[in-house]
């Protein structure tokens, strides 16, 4: 047997191994994609209802006598008028045969707790409505929404069903009259948190995350880049610097909750900074992202070819000019990528923020970095913790928003890298 035959013989074996390896790789990737798809479909499926809202159309009679105000009343008076009664009258008008106290209470719960504020805001905006009868869409209660969206099964026996027969009857009557409609849930993006699922929105959490990340970015980016430049380009090679380097690498591996504890002890207890505020959250998260950005920036700076530095130095550029005119621009894509990935990490971080009180229930939308607020992942955590059926879809919706921001940030990272990357 000559060499060619021997090689041919072994080739079969080698190709077989190669095929097996390829198949294994393909199977594992397919599995990963499958699980990802299941996860995403589940989340999206659950989240979609959260983006529509169920309304009940009611004719309300805004009589001046009943509200005790007129167009000339002061704003305070208009604000304090009893709108709840107007809505209740309207509901009673639709179902006049309801007389028992208990049944009345059930009837009134068809509309959301927020319906009266909705009416109030409408009146404040349009004072000319006073003394007229208006048809207004009122936010439905989450139970009504559940029935309409099909989350509550109408065919279940009454004893197992959250909405009893009588209420179901009202809802079906309203549906038959065309008084129930669904619209896109803008409120989800424009309001803060609430105890009522149908009124709960994510704007507070988005802004909280935004302010927190703003603080994180403002603190960690310059410090980290400066540290990376110093360590790579200027620092003498000695034990002390080695020690610092090792510790930076170690810091990247410290559990994030430890940073939360540190934030609680140092910034809130010692420096008496405001609790639940994005500024503290930002500081804590920047402690956490600093090592990530430093490490990414250092490797980006290290990857800049030494020939570029030599070229600048050889022309008589000072060390500083070399770094800022040539090394930094060349390393920028890598640094930015590292920063954005660090930021994305910070955006998804929960544990350290729990420690500094950003887990509180906050209805108001934060206006600045010192206002109490919460962040997206904590909002997810809070809603997931709530018993109401309506919060289930809100949780998934919030996760979708969070994922959207993460993907957007990664996309920006890729874009920046492509844009600034230069060949040499």
């Amino acid at each position: 047997m000559n060499n060619t035959d021997l090689v041919k013989k072994s080739l079969q074996k080698r190709y077989l191994k190669e095929r097996i390896f390829k198949t294994m790789g393909f199977v594992s990737i397919a599995t990963a994609i499958l699980f990802l798809l299941i996860l995403l479909t589940d989340i999206i499926g659950k989240a979609l209802p959260a983006f529509s809202q169920t309304n009940i159309e009611l004719q309300v009679e805004l009589s001046e006598e009943q509200l005790g105000i007129n167009a000339n009343s002061s704003e305070d008076d208009i604000r304090n008028a009893d709108y709840r009664k107007v809505i209740r009258e309207a509901l009673l008008g639709l179902f006049p045969d309801v007389t028992k106290r208990k049944e009345k209470r059930e009837l009134y719960s068809l509309t959301s707790m927020g319906a009266e504020f909705q009416l109030r805001d409408t009146v404040i905006e349009n004072p000319e409505f006073l003394g007229t009868t208006q048809t207004i869409n009122f936010l439905a209660d989450d139970d009504v929404a559940g029935v309409v969206k099909g989350n509550i099964d109408r065919n279940l026996p009454e004893s197992d069903r959250r909405v009893k027969n009588q209420k179901l009857g009202w809802i079906e009557t309203l549906e038959a009259n065309g008084q129930i409609n669904t619209t896109f849930n803008w409120q989800f993006f424009s309001s803060g948190d609430s105890r009522e699922p149908e009124m709960a929105g994510i704007k507070g959490a988005i802004l909280g995350s935004f302010f927190t990340l703003l603080v994180t970015l403002a603190l960690s980016f310059p410090i980290a880049v400066a540290a990376a430049i110093y360590l790579e380009e200027f620092a003498p090679k000695n034990r002390f610097i080695d020690f610092i380097e090792i510790n930076i690498n170690n810091l990247a591996a410290v559990p994030s909750i430890v940073f939360g504890l540190l934030g609680l002890a140092v910034f809130i207890n010692f420096f008496s900074m405001p609790r639940s505020a994005p500024v503290v959250g930002g500081i804590v998260l920047s402690l956490m992202t600093l090592p990530t950005i430093i490490i990414a920036s250092r490797s980006a700076i290290k990857a800049v070819p030494p020939s570029l530095r030599e070229a600048a130095l050889g022309l008589g550029a000072s060390k500083m000019q070399t770094v800022f005119h040539h090394v930094l621009p060349a390393a920028l894509p890598g640094i930015l990528t590292g920063t954005i990935i660090g930021m994305a990490q910070a955006l998804g971080e929960t544990a350290p923020l729990l420690m500094i009180g950003m887990v509180a229930f906050i209805v108001d939308i934060p206006q600045s970095v010192v206002d109490p607020s919460t962040v997206l992942p904590i909002q997810v955590f809070l809603w997931a913790d709530s018993p109401e059926r309506g919060f289930l879809e809100k949780t998934s919706a919030a996760i979708m928003v969070l994922l959207f921001f993460l993907i957007a940030m990664n996309a920006i990272a890729i874009y920046l890298r492509k844009k600034f990357e230069k060949k040499w």
């Binding site: 020939s307 070229a311 600048a312 050889g314 008589g316 550029a317 000019q321 621009p329 040499w424």
Partner: protein, 291 residues
């Protein structure tokens, strides 16, 4: 003596081991530098220069003068210290922490390693061209304008434009790139990039240009252009060139210095070095017996 005897004599005389000698097998005492390491109109004088990388001595006791407006070629096998020596001349070795230079290097009789000597100023006077063309990832114009800009050599845009054009012209590149001065310098061919780097260096108007194997990454035509350029540049600059190509050293230089194992073995007129080197090691290297 008859034909048969002659034929016998014509057989190889040395029946010793054939094949190349390794450097280890050369058990040679390195004596004083052979030839003429000193010259009258010296631009740079180096006296007893030793260079250490941590505890490793890379260069042993080199004394060599570099004459004004001459092209001197440094040749020698890899790792012989010629590049290290070249880099001591504009203190590029400063960037390496573990590198230590002893001895005296005088540029126009000023010690360049004196505490008061600013390496940045020195590098403006002693420019450098590197082995691999390394233009900045900027436009051709900005590449050439960078040096004058940081040193503040021109007062206004028009002057800078003139300087850029003059430098590119001197480097023989202007005609090739005049239509695309604002195109990236990295888009040029290898030879053009290297001439751009030379243009960038001469834009700072140095007195000495150090070239570290400037043509080793280029094809023969581009190499010939660089060599022609070196020939023209020697009118205005003193040029020290390190090269692996002996033919190149023979073509471009007036004097040649042979380095071996961190020592300066022989210095002499290029003509003499390439026809009749005085030192055995130079002879061995030049005729291709090692290295």
């Amino acid at each position: 003596m008859n034909e048969a005897v002659m034929n016998e004599l014509a057989e190889p005389i040395m029946k010793k081991s054939s094949g190349p000698e390794t450097e280890e097998s050369l058990n040679i005492e390195y004596g004083e530098t052979v030839g003429q390491p000193f010259c009258e109109q010296a631009k740079i004088k180096t006296k007893n220069v030793n260079v250490f990388y941590a505890d490793n001595q890379a260069i042993h006791d080199i004394s060599l003068d570099i004459g004004s407006h001459e092209v001197i070629a440094l040749i020698g096998p890899s790792g012989c210290g010629k590049s290290t020596y070249l880099r001591t001349l504009n203190r590029m070795n400063d960037t390496i922490d573990i590198c230590r230079v002893e001895g005296q290097i005088l540029l126009d009789d000023e010690d360049i390693y004196h505490k008061k000597q600013d390496p940045v100023l020195l590098r403006a006077r002693v420019g450098m061209v590197f082995q691999k063309p390394n233009p900045f990832p900027k436009s051709i114009y900005d590449n050439v304008a960078y040096g004058p800009r940081i040193h503040g050599l021109t007062r206004n845009k028009a002057e800078l434009d003139d300087l850029v054009e003059a430098s590119l012209t001197k480097a023989g590149l202007f005609d090739e790139v005049k239509d695309r001065l604002h195109a990236p310098g990295t888009g040029l061919s290898g030879g053009q990039q290297q001439r751009l780097c030379i243009a960038r260096t001469i834009a700072v108007q140095p007195e000495v240009i150090l070239m570290d194997e400037p043509a080793s990454a280029l094809d023969p035509i581009a190499t010939a252009k660089i060599e022609e350029l070196i020939n023209e540049l020697k009118e205005n600059f003193t040029i020290v060139i390190v090269t692996h190509s002996m033919q190149q050293a023979a073509r471009v230089s007036q004097r040649t210095a042979y380095f071996h194992m961190g020592r300066l073995i022989e210095v002499g007129d290029t003509d003499q070095i390439f026809t009749n080197p005085a030192h055995e090691l130079t002879e061995k290297y030049i005729t291709g017996r090692f290295g």
